[in-house]
């Protein structure tokens, strides 16, 4: 067994302790997320067009008008 392998094995218990921390999902500051979304809704691309943000409402309008849905997928948070 090489010295590198021995050192690696010695660190295993520490790694085992860290796994729950490493695998924990990232959390998002909800107040910031809400502020981001509110800010997005002031952007000119959004305010100047008849954008619907509710999927059910978009489908209902598509059924009513016979028009296809032009769906734009975007986000308001940094990954």
């Amino acid at each position: 067994m090489t010295s590198l392998t021995r050192r690696g094995l010695a660190l295993l218990p520490l790694a085992a302790l860290l796994v729950p921390e490493l695998s924990a999902q990232r959390t998002f500051d909800q107040e910031q997320m809400k502020a981001n979304y509110a800010e997005m809704q002031t952007h000119s691309w959004f305010t100047n067009g008849d954008w619907i943000t509710d999927f059910a409402a978009a489908k209902a309008k598509a059924r009513e008008t016979g028009r296809p849905i032009f769906a734009y997928f975007t986000r308001t948070y940094a990954p």
């Binding site: 997320m33 979304y37 943000t53 999927f55 309008k61 028009r67 296809p68 849905i69 997928f73």
Partner: protein, 268 residues
């Protein structure tokens, strides 16, 4: 694109605009709708039917393509369903639908027009879209990785010849910027005022917009230099990036000056 009046005017009469916004707000309905359509990144575009089924997830970012895709989407979905059911279909209608949806290349279109005997208004439409495809393919070939000076020269000649033959791109088509630049280059060499001034205003406007857009980033870099002034490594990286940005601005300003000088020379 979405801020522009021509997009809004068209969209208000022809489509249902749906912004699917991933906000990470807990409990918000359909917040991660993107995953349903197996998109991996933002932004993404799709055309959906009234049940939310994706008709296409391939939507080009130019208004000309968007208009064609939205107009053809219902017919495309209908014929596709007939194909899936094993029914006989109207081959011409399928060809025109696929063409509008951006599923054909220029060879497919030339063969389709000939083999299917496309005539009249449909032929005119198909030939218009064929020209858009040809210019787009030229742009990719002359600007893509591995493109040589010979490829660029050949593209310039091809665009100029098409212009002299009376061919014009429809407004808002994706290769417009490429075609305009090729025309300006060809016309500067040949002294062709008609070709030069056909494209000049648009090329000039794009350069001015590009400079403004690039200059818009300068304050942020300068603010970061101040913010991280005690971090030498960080400052070095920011200065490097700032240097590249400033060079891009200088290069574009030089191109603009040369363009304006060429215009002045051709006017005299």
């Amino acid at each position: 694109m979405f801020s522009k009046q021509d997009f809004q005017d068209w969209a208000s009469d022809n489509a249902v605009l749906f912004a699917s916004v991933m906000t990470k707000i807990e409990g918000r309905k359909d917040d991660d709708l993107l995953r349903t359509y197996e998109f991996r990144g933002f932004p993404s575009l799709a055309i959906l039917d009234a049940e939310g089924n994706a008709i296409t997830k391939k939507v080009s970012r130019d208004l000309f393509s968007m208009k064609n895709v939205v107009a053809a989407a219902p017919m495309y979905a209908k014929i596709k369903a007939e194909i899936d059911d094993g029914k006989e279909i109207d081959e011409k209608a399928w060809f025109m639908a696929q063409l509008a949806m951006g599923e054909l290349d220029s060879n497919d279109v030339r063969e389709g027009i000939a083999d299917l005997g496309i005539t009249g208004d449909e032929k005119a439409k198909a030939e218009e879209m064929l020209f858009v495809l040809e210019m787009g393919e030229l742009a990719s070939k002359s600007r893509g990785r591995g493109a040589t000076e010979a490829d660029k020269m050949a593209a310039c000649v091809a665009v100029y010849e098409a212009f002299k033959a009376g061919k014009r791109l429809p407004a808002g088509a994706a290769p417009e910027a490429f075609v305009d630049e090729m025309l300006v280059d060809a016309a500067k060499d040949s002294g062709d005022k008609k070709a030069f001034f056909f494209a000049y205003d648009r090329v000039h406007e794009r350069m001015v917009e590009r400079i403004a857009s690039l200059e818009g980033y300068l304050p942020r870099y300068r603010a970061d230099l101040e913010k991280f002034k005690d971090n030498k490594a960080r400052v070095a990286r920011i200065e490097q990036a700032l240097g590249r940005l400033e060079q891009m601005i200088a290069d574009t300003k030089k191109e603009l000056t040369e363009l304006e000088a060429a215009a002045e020379k051709l006017r005299s």
